[in-house]
Subunit: 196 residues, 2 copies
């Protein structure tokens, strides 16, 4: 049945619905673990609709990744914004991360996972920008804390965040975020102390 009778025709909403369903499925089963046909079935859309909105499976994947990157950074930024000082900001970031790791559907960072599966420009570019934003955020926190080399500490905090995500995904999830959070604060304090 074409265009279910009584349904409002809203391309933008259709696009979002496809995006949402694809985000979940591709994250859970991997980029190569879900075919376009199954994707369409899960959305309740036809192939033609999907291809009109995204052009190709890779186009859909890219749209999914960019939207996800934006959402993740908005979420982390919110956590940071509620904290009163740099140390509390770091604590907030890793506490938020811990809440994510505990969710049963947690499967690592979708953007990094995608770049691992498709080691090609589109996915890699999204990943680079994703990590760039993390690095900028951490460097800002380090700068606000008044450390001598914010870039150095920022990079180390990025390593802690990504490392915690990988370990939570592939080793043990419980306590990893707090472990990384304590390491982050230790690094912050050590760097502060050494530069009075």
């Amino acid at each position: 049945m074409p265009v279910t009778k009584g349904t409002a025709l809203d391309p933008a909403r259709t696009r979002e619905a496809i995006l949402a369903a694809a985000t979940e499925l591709l994250y859970r089963r991997g980029l190569d673990g879900v075919g376009v046909a199954e994707l369409c079935a899960a959305v309740g859309a036809s192939k033609e609709t999907l291809y009109r909105h995204f052009g190709s499976k890779d186009g859909l994947i890219q749209a999914v990744l960019e939207a996800r990157s934006d959402r993740v950074h908005a979420w982390i930024s919110t956590a940071v914004a509620t904290a009163p000082d740099p140390a509390a900001e770091l604590h907030a970031v890793f506490e938020a991360l811990g809440g994510w790791f505990e969710q049963p559907e947690f499967r690592g960072c979708a953007i990094v996972n995608a770049a691992t599966q498709r080691h090609s420009p589109p996915a890699r570019l999204v990943a680079v920008r994703h990590l760039d934003r993390y690095l900028e955020m951490f460097t800002d926190i380090a700068a606000r804390a008044g450390v001598a080399e914010p870039g150095e500490l920022g990079g180390q905090l990025l390593i802690l965040l990504e490392g915690a995500t990988v370990v939570a995904d592939h080793h043990r999830a419980d306590g990893v975020a707090r472990l990384a959070g304590r390491a982050a604060l230790t690094l912050l304090h050590a760097t502060e102390k050494s530069q009075p």
Copy 2:
């Protein structure tokens, strides 16, 4: 031509040859990026030979991952063994890591990548044991350094190692290992100082 004339018949060597070629190709292009036919062509072996030795593509993948995990840990252990004290051991680990990151064929940790692509028991188990061995190594180093809670520091060092690997793969490779290495030493010294 079956069994090229003059070639010694050595199943064990054949197996190793398949393993070696598959290790390189699957690492470079991803588990789903290479078909069995291409794999056979790269090895110079027939499908029947591959399937007789490994049973299935997944069997081959598992053999590849386990061999790789063994090799990586032997390599890291060698780096550790040459250092005179815990701090030097950590330095050696991250220096070795840096050398790996700089290689043009570096594509992240093959075992973690595989577990990301196949989020199913076989690959996941190899990954868990792989990280277990890292954790044990780092915990031992922490214990030798005499810190109060070697497990805590060991876990943090594991996070640094995996984080550095991810960042080197997906963000920037140069200097990441040394950045993580300095963080590792900072954590070690901070933990030592707080527990006289």
